[in-house]
Amino acid sequence: MTIQQHELPIAQITQTIGMEDDFLVSRLTGKNFAAKLQEILQNFPEEVVALLDFSAVDLMDGSFADEVFGTIAAARGRRQLFIAPFILVSLNAMSLDNLEQALLSRPVREESLRNCVVPVKSEDGEISLVGKFEEHVQQTFTLLNSSGELTTREVAKELDLGTAAASTRLKALYDLGLALRLEVRDDQGKSFVYRSIS
């Protein structure tokens, strides 16, 4: 099964909640936007990654970013939200800065939150993690992106880990929306293959 990336222009969401797509500001607007975004992503088919296209956005401020992506990333960090993975694309520098500050501030306000992160695609096509995340998240994310697809056994071998630790790492990426997971059944039973979202 191949991974599909589906472009989702911001306007496609803003139009449904009666707002324009140039200035994404305020918590109230963010709440409405977040509800619509989650609804769309919950109905995405498996193995499809949404590319949230910000090219028409002049500014996303910190309040909006916190309400939408801070809320989603925190819920994923607590393993309370399971929606299709998404990547933010064509964010301008200020919006990216506001997003990063919002995501970094979440763990300050929620002390037990260890990861609050979203993937962002830069102009050169690289996908980087923005927000607060543990070192092992970055390490496994980088490994998965370079490999394209990994099993627990492969991660254990590459990173010199036990099987349980490797499994935990891959599951963490999946829970954070940073990897796709495919169930495989063979003679030895059920297992998972994790795929890069890039």
């Binding site: 707002m19 324009e20 140039d22 200035f23 500001v25 305020s26 918590r27 109230l28 607007t29 002049d58 500014l59 401020d61 910190g62 309040s63 916190d66 301008n92 520098a93 200020m94 919006s95 800065d97 506001n98 500050q101 919002a102 501030s105 300050v108 306000r109 929620e110």
Partner: protein, 298 residues
Amino acid sequence: MSQLQPRDLQFIDAVEGLYVSLLGLRDSSGILQLDLKNTTFVKPRGILGLVTVARLWKDWTGHPVVVSNIQHRVHAYLERMDLFTECSEFLIAANQLDETDRLDRSSNSYKLLEILPIPSDEAANARSVPDALRRAKHILGTWLDDDDLIGSVLTLLSEIGQNVIHSEDQGFAIIQRYKKPYSLDIELASEIRIGIADLGIGIEESLCRRTPSLTDRFNEGSDFILHALEQGTSGHLSVRGLGLYRVRSLVKRWQGSLTIRSFSSSIHIENDRIEVDDTLPQIPGVQVFITVRGSTDF
């Protein structure tokens, strides 16, 4: 009819002096005549001082403030700021400005963004702030050739515009650009000043409603203002706790200054130095004044 004749309102002391004089008239009634013959220049703080005085007076007496003896240049500027049209319910010019004295309104001709009412109702605020940002973006684009600085100014306006929701009172915002042709540092030779003022519940009351225990921790009004600038102020997720913290970090990035005044307290931050004052005249609400600096290229 009551009368006041403030000193030159380009100076902060004169604005604060005007507040002191106003509070002395608390039990008066009727129209207040404000004689501006001493005012030779007005900055955002002076304009929002006029708005604050006139709104307070209207609240107290039901009557407007009539401004008289306005010097031509000041009058032209206040008209250009739309002060007497946006604030016509409570602020009236005693004399009309001659048509020939009016300043050009083309976006390239002047370095300001007219006074903007910002509603405190959350839904109205969410509609109003993007409109304000569109106007600001249009005019900033004629001043600046630096997307990063434009984005920062828009973020600052957005954050302080949304902050009036906590004050529970309408705010008024303005933006003004200044050039300093004789500045020694060409990278800092231009300034953009942003100001916003409301007459709401203020920072202390707003914070204490959400976190009552703060009253045990802090004594002075400035303590509450400084607390509002910290990241994750209350630990409650619905709390903003991000806006003023973000404002502070952006102001620092652009080597600017930040002044926040609420009731009798104020804090002023510039170059990591913090000045506090808890002895100001008791004016309700919150006033925020921001200066960011950039090169003369813009």
